[in-house]
Amino acid sequence: MGAGTLLSPVPEELSAATGSDAALRRFLHGLPGVDQVGAEARASALAGRSVKATAKAFAIDLAIRMVDLTTLEGADTRGKVRALSTKAMRPDPADPTCPAVAAVCVYPDMVGTARATLAGSGVHVASVATAFPSGRAAPAVKLADARDAVQAGADEIDMVIDRGAFLSGRYLEVLDQIVAVGEVCGRPDGTRAHLKVICETGELQTYDNVRRVSWLAMLAGADFIKTSTGKVQPAATLPVTLVMLEAVRDFRFATGRQVGVKPAGGIRTTKEALAYLVMVNEVAGTDWLDPDLFRFGASSLLNDLLMQRMRMTTGRYSSPDYVTVD
């Protein structure tokens, strides 16, 4: 699958943008600038919305279905991945009405273990790749990393972009790398693993850069754009996600293709998760309120969602004693 096929649904003025480094730079720098104060004010205004009662119960279940349950530690073991995968299928063992999460997100060498545990459950296996989290490796190594993960059975590949190249303005290089990983995501049977592009917005300095990198990733054929690795502070923030949601909305307007958004890192409480959902609804639209188009990259968020869920069903506040220690 080459760049041509990935970009095929893109209108001519957009595909022309990816023709050369100069054209791409012209296009990305021609995007309207982000009003920083405005974006932050809008994000905090939306975060203040109150979601109660049945709407809250619905939102909590939706948020659980959107969680990419993540473990990306050097100390990960097969046992831990198995335990996490089991939890992903039945987050609240005491309550069969509790939905499963969207995916389990692990390092490539753990994909096989997760795959085996999750087989037939409908929960996806996502794998980080391309020398996560820094992305500092030779292109061939990065591609081999991603290929490995796909062969091991990953449904989704979370790749990191080369932030160094992006910040020094070598946009075409970044684009080509994403396209190359996108090709590797193809399986022999013609299907392909979904490609999530991690922009690591904590290293991109400005909201303008966030908007540019979002468009860059989408032009390169990303199925999802993801804020952060979770290894860099600040990780996901509301304003950054707002800018990304605007980008996917505008991209659909321009091309008809819907790209997903995944804030990752630093989202720990139900309250924060609900603020994100409100923002998805208000900025991108209800079409994006779907686990196929919006995800939370998180590990501790799920426990808080479960505790809030217990609170909604039993009427009393729950305790961390009643959820797993991950």
């Binding site: 009427g315 009393r316 506040y317 729950s318 305790s319 961390p320 004693d321 009643y322």
Partner: protein
């Protein structure tokens, strides 16, 4: 000595009508609900405004107490004793204010208010002394018929919710609070609804002594808003219902909701005890768990 500043005869000073806040996690937040209520003295005169805590404030307080538990319970008993002793020192330094508040809140005479405050300071010192002694008194090695060293140690129960006595606003409060924290528990206190001022001022004492934030959290306001939440909260390990003396119906209700996660419940007595009497160890041991260890010894 300098001459005292004299007020001009004609100037009528505008009174500062204070609104007190809650004490949660070492900070003084307003109630999440934004509500407050008027506190009156026994004669019905305005004393101050106090925050009316909601169930979400109770939840936040439990969260703060849970967060503080690991640090507080792992301090050495000796250090906890020192901290409590320091609280007594700071309280001693603010005697005048406490005497005034106790007098106005409880409607007692000046002399009796002074005696109550003195007794409160003494009570704190007394409990501070117990910090590194209670373990020896209620724990120890046990004789067993086998090749084992068998010993028992008391450990704190966890987060304790205390409904403070409604009558004795300072001595009663300290008499139920000190035994809970001296052994390493952390606490959420729902203060007396009618007489919250000494509790709030006491939290100012705690904030300026060495008690880590979150070890003691003080909620003011109607018990009906906070007590059911505290009693049913799964992250609360024990509850002291002393504040429900004479309200058997509500006490039973709370005992039932406390049963969900098998909280330890210190039931409300028929009438409020005489706080001036020797307190004994009961209030400390009520919130201790005994851990017994069988250690094999080579014979």
């Amino acid at each position: 000595m300098t001459a005292p500043l004299e007020e001009p005869a004609t100037a009528r000073r505008v009174e500062v009508r204070k609104t007190y806040k809650l004490f949660v996690g070492g900070a003084f937040p307003r109630s999440e609900s934004g509500r407050s209520y008027v506190v009156q003295d026994t004669a019905g005169r305005f004393l101050a405004n106090a925050s009316a805590a909601s169930r979400k404030d109770a939840r936040n307080a439990v969260q703060a107490a849970r967060k503080a538990f690991a640090g507080w319970s792992s301090r050495t008993p000796y250090n906890r004793g020192q901290v409590l002793y320091r609280v007594a020192e700071v309280l001693e330094g603010r005697r005048a204010q406490f005497i005034d508040e106790v007098q106005r809140s409880e409607g007692v005479g000046r002399r009796q208010a002074r005696a109550l405050v003195n007794l409160t300071v003494d009570r704190l010192v007394w409990y501070a002394g117990w910090a590194d002694k209670i373990g020896q008194v209620v724990g120890g090695t046990n004789p067993v018929a086998g090749p084992y060293l068998n010993f028992s140690v008391p450990e704190p129960t966890g987060v304790v919710a205390v409904l403070a006595p409604s009558g004795s606003s300072l001595l009663g409060l300290v008499s139920v609070l000190a035994p809970v924290i001296v052994t390493g528990n952390t606490v959420v206190v729902a203060s007396s609804h009618q007489r919250p001022l000494p509790a709030i001022t006491f939290s100012e004492v705690l904030a300026t002594s060495d008690v880590p934030g979150g070890v003691v959290n003080v909620l003011t306001g109607p018990l009906g808003d906070t007590a059911p939440t505290l009693a049913s909260h799964l992250d609360v390990n024990a509850v002291d219902l002393i504040g429900l003396v004479g309200d058997a119906e509500r006490a039973t209700e709370l005992e039932q909701s406390a049963a969900d996660n098998l909280k330890r419940v210190l039931r409300a007595p028929v009438r409020e005890p005489d706080w001036a009497r020797d307190p004994g160890l009961e209030r400390m041991t009520a919130f201790l768990e005994t851990k017994t260890v069988w250690h094999p010894i080579g014979v």
